[in-house]
């Protein structure tokens, strides 16, 4: 969709005008043997939809939460998280509050867990603007009504309680709440996982419309590679706290260059895959108590050699493919085999 501005940039890697720029982010938690995030690089440009894909424990949620500095207790960070050029990890509390109300907003997975069931929808929507005395109450109410209509609900919902709305409607309310402060960036953490498939399509369509209308960048965190490929401009695949592979959605989906991406595609029960057994990935991701020396995927990788267990592969550009980085020692050698594993005739 909006690939133009991103591809034409003078920089060969990454889009221009990033609203979000994460560089070398490392995050340590107490009582763990390895960092939960280990050198994450990620950018989101204006109007760009970027998907961050990974399984549980990969660090995808922590990455998105670090953008609002919503970190677990005892966490220590290294690296840079810039939102519109401002450093999130070092800003003072007043600016942080401003960031959370105006610049970037989060839509969580379970709307029922993120909203106070005893307060009316209208109170919920205008709360942050009223608390920060940004807008007179009447103006805040008007804006809330407008945004409810923008997400396909009637202004009547302002007077209703969360219990009176369905899950899909509540997720629309959450999206409207995210837009209240007129953010440049929306972080959506599995926003459709708790919804039915047909409702998921509606919410995704809505997020697409809003991007066009308000020009916000969107970081969409999901475990669903199919959904990521369907909705985003670029995809990052995370494994054990590192970016395994990143690139334009279509290229990554059709021609994976990292064995983990290929294995993830092959183990997904897709409608267009051949019938029969799935190509499951044996084993499980490394626990936080294990120190990693080489590639974190090596113990589960069919293509691993000695170098994989000894040296951590750095993310390297793929020849002839802009915006594509792969952290695998054997990526070039495996290109054809990996594509063959997922393309079925």
């Amino acid at each position: 969709m909006n690939e133009g501005p991103m591809r034409e940039g003078p920089m060969s890697e990454g889009p221009m005008n990033p609203v979000l720029d994460i560089r070398g982010l490392r995050l340590h938690l107490p009582k763990t043997a390895r960092p939960v995030l280990d050198g994450v690089d990620l950018t989101v440009a204006e109007r760009e939809t970027v998907a961050l894909v990974g399984e549980s424990g990969s660090g995808k949620t922590l990455t998105s939460r670090s953008v609002l500095r919503l970190l677990p207790p005892g966490a220590t960070t290294e690296g840079v998280v810039d939102v519109q050029g401002e450093s999130v990890l070092t800003m003072d509390p007043a600016r942080l509050r401003r960031l959370r109300t105006h610049t970037a907003a989060m839509v969580f997975q379970d709307p029922r867990a993120a909203i106070n069931p005893l307060r009316r929808i209208g109170d919920f929507l205008t709360e942050s603007l009223r608390l920060n005395a940004d807008l007179p109450a009447a103006d805040a109410d008007r804006r809330a009504g407008e945004l409810l209509e923008a997400v396909g609900l009637s202004g009547r919902a302002l007077r209703q309680y969360p219990g009176q709305l369905s899950g899909g409607m509540l997720q629309r309310v959450m999206i409207a709440a995210a837009l209240m402060g007129d953010p440049v960036l929306i972080l959506a953490d599995e926003p459709t996982t708790a919804l039915d498939v047909t409702t998921q399509a509606e919410v995704v369509a809505l997020l697409g419309d809003l991007r066009e209308r308000f020009g916000t960048g969107l970081l969409f965190v999901t475990h669903d590679l199919g959904l990521a490929a369907a909705i985003s401009d670029r995809v990052y695949v995370m494994y054990a706290g590192r970016i395994a592979e990143t690139g334009p959605a279509e290229a990554l989906f059709n021609r994976p260059r990292h064995p983990y991406t290929a294995a993830l595609l092959a183990s997904t029960p897709r409608l267009d895959a051949p019938p029969g057994r799935l190509a499951a990935i044996d084993g499980r991701p490394p626990s936080l108590q294990e120190e990693l020396t080489g590639c974190p995927f090596a113990p589960r990788c069919a293509f691993a050699t000695q170098v994989c267990t000894e040296e951590m592969p750095p993310p390297l550009p793929v020849r002839g493919e802009p915006n594509r980085l792969v952290a695998c020692h054997h990526s070039d050698r495996l290109a054809d085999q990996l594509a063959g594993r997922t393309v079925h005739e």
């Binding site: 498939v197 998921q200 995704v204 809505l206 490929a229 409608l271 799935l278 499951a280 990935i281």
Partner: protein, 282 residues
């Protein structure tokens, strides 16, 4: 009554599970509205639908966790739903019914006792259903763990020391312990990561091949349905809107709702706007 000779005499083609005219209302909501289907011996039937479609209520009636207002559930020709019927409420009857149909729930974090070890869970189930024979239980526990791909190391573990996938393997082993004729799986792989989900789906396929157990597979995921079922019924608002062999229903859906469900599965080139419109039109 539970004469094994009678069961053996049933031919393979005869259904092990026969559901006819099932109704269940909650107040004015018809959660299950005239639902009928059969499951062949060793077959696998998927029930697909969204929340509120009645798929879980149907499953719970089959298992016996929910009562039907009317309709019949026969397992190997024996009545089971027993609304005001003759199905007994005594302990022996209850255990017999439990041996016919077992269930695996969605959330492996909630369906296991946090204070009981994996081996303890299986031994408890075996003691309840096959009293006596302590030595036999030890051997059978080992077999069951082996069947679901767990080792002696996991036998001594508590649920919190296991991953989600391992816990779901324990839940499957517990269900298999009583050698049920039918296994009801209610979104049993929905909470698992993709790579782990594939392991469990393959495991379930192996078990069906080895034991000839029948599956009633409740899910919202059409990819999963395609992967593990022979036949499928599509439910909406308590009613069956389409039924047939899985391959046929997915390749050539007849009902607009089935088509909408298929179109809603995200894939490259997917148009969520069109789906949202189709949904409103339906």
């Amino acid at each position: 009554m539970s004469d094994p000779a009678v069961q053996d005499a049933l031919s393979a083609a005869e259904p092990v599970l026969e559901v006819t005219g099932l109704h269940r209302a909650f107040g004015s909501v018809r959660a299950v509205d005239d639902v009928s289907f059969t499951l062949a011996r060793g077959g696998s039937l998927g029930i697909v639908g969204e929340s509120g479609s009645g798929k879980t209520t149907t499953a719970r009636i089959v298992v016996g966790l929910e009562r039907a207002d009317s309709g019949r559930v026969l397992v190997c020709g024996r009545d089971r739903a027993g609304h005001g019927g003759r199905a007994g409420h005594g302990r022996a009857e209850r255990l017999r019914r439990a041996r016919e149909v077992q269930m695996v729930f969605q959330d492996p974090f909630l369906s296991l006792d946090p204070r009981t070890t994996v081996g303890g869970v299986l031994r408890e189930t075996l003691r309840l259903h096959f009293p006596g024979d302590r030595a036999g239980h030890e051997r059978r526990t080992g077999e069951l763990l082996d069947q679901v791909g767990l080792g002696s190391r996991e036998a001594g573990a508590l649920p919190r020391q296991l991953s989600g996938g391992q816990r779901q393997r324990v839940a499957i082993a517990r269900a298999l312990a009583v050698e049920p004729t039918v296994l009801v799986l209610d979104e049993a792989v929905a909470a698992l990561d993709v790579s782990v989900q594939a392991q469990i789906l393959n495991l379930l396929a192996d078990i069906r091949e080895q034991t000839g157990i029948g599956y009633l597979f409740i899910t919202h995921d059409l990819g999963v349905v395609r992967c593990v079922t022979d036949d499928v019924i599509v439910m909406r608002n308590g009613r069956i809107v389409e039924a047939g062999p899985t391959v046929g229903v997915l390749a050539d859906p007849q009902h607009p709702y089935t088509r909408l469900l298929l179109d809603s599965v995200p894939r490259p080139g997917w148009d969520p706007r069109q789906i949202a419109e189709a949904r409103r039109a339906l």
